[in-house]
Structure formats: C-alpha cells, structure tokens
C-alpha cells in the first residue's frame, strides 16, 4: 500500500514538474536576449563580455545540432572519431564567431513580437532589433528546437529572412568543394579560425 502511494506521488510529482518547467519559446528568447543585452551594456572589458556571452551561448544554443546541420550531407560520411573531433572544433569556432559578432553591439534592444508554431520540434519566434541613428530596425527570427519543452534551444537566427545556419552550411560546403570533399581541410580551417 505504501509503495503504491509512493509511486503515485512520484508520478504526480514528475508530471507536475514537466508542466511547471516547460518554457514557452518566446519567453525563452526574450529572457536570453535580455541576459545578453545586460552583459553588453555592462562596464566590463570586451574579453569579459565575450566570456560571459560564450557561457550564455553554451546554455541556450544547440551547438552540436547547428554543427551537424552546417556540415550538410558530409556528416553522413564521418566516422565516430571524426564526429567527436568535428564537434569539438565546431564548438570552439562557433563560440568565437558568435561572441565576436555580438560583442560589437552596445546595448542592443530586442523585442519579441510573436511566434509561429511549426511542429512539435520547432517554433519560430519573431523579434525586432530596435533601430538607432546608425542602423535601421532589423527583423530577427529565431528557430527554436522544442523537442524537449523544458530545455528549448536556439538552432538558427534568421535576420531579415536570411538564415545564418544556412549561410554557414553553404560556407562549409564551399570549403569542402574546393578541397575535393576532404573533411580534414575543413577541420584545419575551423581550427585556424578558432586560434587566430
């Protein structure tokens, strides 16, 4: 009898938690941009900003997923050792590129304005980067991976309709094409970018 009660308690607890911790994609994006914005407006060095932004990216971006998407069909011909090596190299490349792009902005104001449910795995969140005297207003859409609703992750940023993941994928394809599909050439390029 006691065991039954305990089991029921655990089941209820589990479902309650699932419900409680499910995060809406738009709330997730707004909270992420608010965190990034706060870091960018802090009076700290650029290096410190970059380190903090890297931490946010690790938490909120599906770096492994973006990496394998960027590799396109080439991902199917990698062996396990190459997959591990690629994941490591891509993470370093991505974090450097991502934080470097963001750190150029000072106090960017991004407002979430809507969302579009695509399927159980994806929601597109729409937002606006408020314009300044130096740059016009920019529409930014976020492809959010929601397979695990408790832990939504960013998979793509679509700026004025232009997908960054897709651009990166075509960039990687170009490097592979100009090196006869040699994956080591891509590894070398990613490594050099991260180290420079």
């Amino acid at each position: 009898m006691n065991l039954k009660k305990i089991l029921i308690f655990f089941i209820l607890f589990f479902f309650n938690n699932t419900y409680l911790y499910s995060i809406e994609p738009d709330v997730f994006v707004q909270s992420t941009v608010n965190r990034a914005s706060q870091i960018l407006s802090e009076n700290i060095t650029k290096k410190e900003k970059i380190n903090k932004l890297k931490f946010i990216a690790k938490e909120t971006v599906d770096i492994r997923g973006v990496g394998f998407y960027s590799l396109g069909l080439a991902r199917k011909s990698l062996n396990d050792a190459q997959k591990i090596k690629y994941s490591e190299l891509f993470e370093s490349y991505f974090l450097k590129s991502f934080s470097s792009r963001l750190s150029e902005y000072t106090n960017p104001e991004i407002n979430v304005v809507g969302k579009e449910f695509l399927n159980k795995n994806y929601t597109i969140v729409n937002s606006i980067l408020i314009g300044t005297s130096e740059r016009p207003e920019v529409k930014i859409d976020w492809r959010i991976y929601t397979k695990n609703p408790e832990n939504p992750l960013i998979r793509d940023l679509i700026i004025e309709g232009l997908s960054l993941a897709r651009t990166q994928k075509e960039e990687f394809a170009s490097i592979l094409n100009s090196n006869d599909g040699d994956i080591e050439a891509l590894f070398k390029t990613l490594d050099e970018f991260s180290k420079n």
């Binding site: 599906d62 695509l118 994806y122 492809r143 309709g161 075509e170 390029t189």
Partner: protein, 262 residues
C-alpha cells in the same frame, strides 16, 4: 523607342512561353533555391569579388563611413528619394507579373511622393497608410514566369547576380526604366546623364552605409567570405522573387528534421 518596347515585350513573352511548362510556385521556388544555382565561373567570380572588395575598401567604405554620420533625417530622405525612383522600375514589373492592383498603388505612391513628398524625400504615401513598397525588377519578373537563374556571377563594381538577373537588368537600359529614359536616353532640359549615374552611385553608398556593421562583422567572422556573400545574396533574391520574408516558405526543413540532439 516604341520599337524597343515592343522588342522587349516580345522577348519577355518568348522567354516566358518557352519556360512556361509547370511554372508554378513550387517550380519557381525550386529553381531559385540557392543550393540549386551553380557557380559555373567560380574562379573568375572570386577574382572579380576580390577586385570589388578592393574597390569597396578604397571608395565605397570610406564614403559610406562618412555618410553614416549625417543626421538621420537627411539619410532617411535620401533613401526615400532613391526608393521613389526605383518605383519606376517596380510599376512595369508589377504589370508584367499580373499584379495590376499593386501597380496602381505604386503609381499613386510615386505621384504623391514626387509631388507632395518633394521629389520623394518624404514618404508621404507611408504616412497615408499605403502598404510598404516592395521593389520589383525584370529579373524577378522573368523568374516568376519560370525562367531559371542560370549560373551565379559576380559583376565588376555591381556585385553578385545571376545570368538571368544580369541579362534582365539590360532591359532598364533599353526603355524599361523611365528614370534612365529621361536622363540618359532622352536628355531633357531638366535632367542629364549625371543625374542618373549619381543616383546609382548614391544608391550603392546608401546600401553600404545601411549595412556597414553587418558587412564588417560578416567579413571578420567568415571562414569563406565569398561563399557567405553568395549564400546571403541568393537567399535574399529567392525571397524577393517569392515576395515573402518568411524563411519557412523558402527553407527546406528536411535537413533539420534528421538532426536529433535531445
């Protein structure tokens, strides 16, 4: 002039007729997928791209940098005027694409902005609630008729394009652009060649200034800047042809779907 217009119309009709079989939205989408567009002249394109980058560094970038510090109302006014001039190419293309209502709206927009808006400096139409102006050109019109883009090319000074779009832009020079007609083709008392070419150069500077940070950022963080620019250009072009800015209408999701990380 009349003969030229007839020639253009006939050429467009022939091209459209030739490519009409199955020219529905899906086919247009497929034909203009960035991944479907071949880079047949990649070596030459890369050389031209490097030339354009050098030219940008010497001319466009410094001018755009200075242009950016002008007061916002001036920059906005210049941008509005250039946009207003581009309506003269948009209107005939609205008609070619069968969008007569849009052609009417854009004609109204042009008249209002040119007169009350002081040569387009103020976007009066927008204040009156006209829908946002979506630029159209002859390349987009050919695409909607089912003409494929051909190879990707990089033009000296002008930048990225496709064989179809580059060929179609020649229509502007043979009567398809009313602004070109009154300035270069038929020099009038009020306009000269200088007006046309200065508007084109200003348009380039305006674009460079608006995208100043984005271009710098992209160049700094790209492992293959040429490939990045090509991808962004072709994505943008595909959206303009489909008159959409929704990525879900243009992006093939299948690649994402098979990547499971959770």
């Amino acid at each position: 002039m009349f003969r030229k217009l007839i020639l253009i119309s006939v050429s467009i009709m022939l091209l459209a007729f030739n490519a009409n079989a199955g020219s529905d939205g899906e086919l247009v989408l497929k034909k203009n997928q960035p991944t479907e567009i071949k880079d047949c002249f990649e070596k030459l394109n890369r050389v031209t791209f490097a030339f354009n980058q050098a030219l940008d560094g010497v001319i466009f970038k410094p001018i755009a940098s200075a242009y950016r510090v002008l007061p916002s109302p001036i920059k906005e006014g210049v941008s509005n005027s250039l946009d207003n001039l581009s309506t003269l190419v948009t209107i005939p293309n609205n008609i070619i694409q069968g969008e007569v209502k849009k052609a009417g709206i854009n004609s109204g927009r042009f008249i209002l902005n040119t007169t009350i808006g002081i040569l387009g400096f103020i976007d009066v139409a927008q204040h009156l609630g006209f829908p946002e102006h979506e630029r159209e050109d002859y390349g987009q019109s050919l695409a909607t008729m089912g003409v494929g883009p051909g190879c990707y090319i990089v033009l000296p000074v002008l930048g990225p394009s496709t064989v179809r779009d580059a060929a179609a832009s020649a229509i502007n020079l043979v009567g398809g652009d009313a602004w070109y007609n009154v300035t270069v083709n038929n020099d009038t008392r009020y306009f000269s060649d200088f007006d046309y070419y200065s508007s084109r150069v200003t348009s380039g500077i305006d674009f460079r200034a608006k995208n100043y940070d984005a271009i710098e950022n992209l160049e700094k963080n790209s492992i293959d800047f040429y490939a990045s620019v090509k991808s962004l250009y072709l994505q943008d072009r595909q959206q303009k042809i489909l008159n959409t800015n929704k990525i879900i209408e243009t992006q093939d999701d299948s690649d994402w779907e098979e990547i499971e990380t959770q």
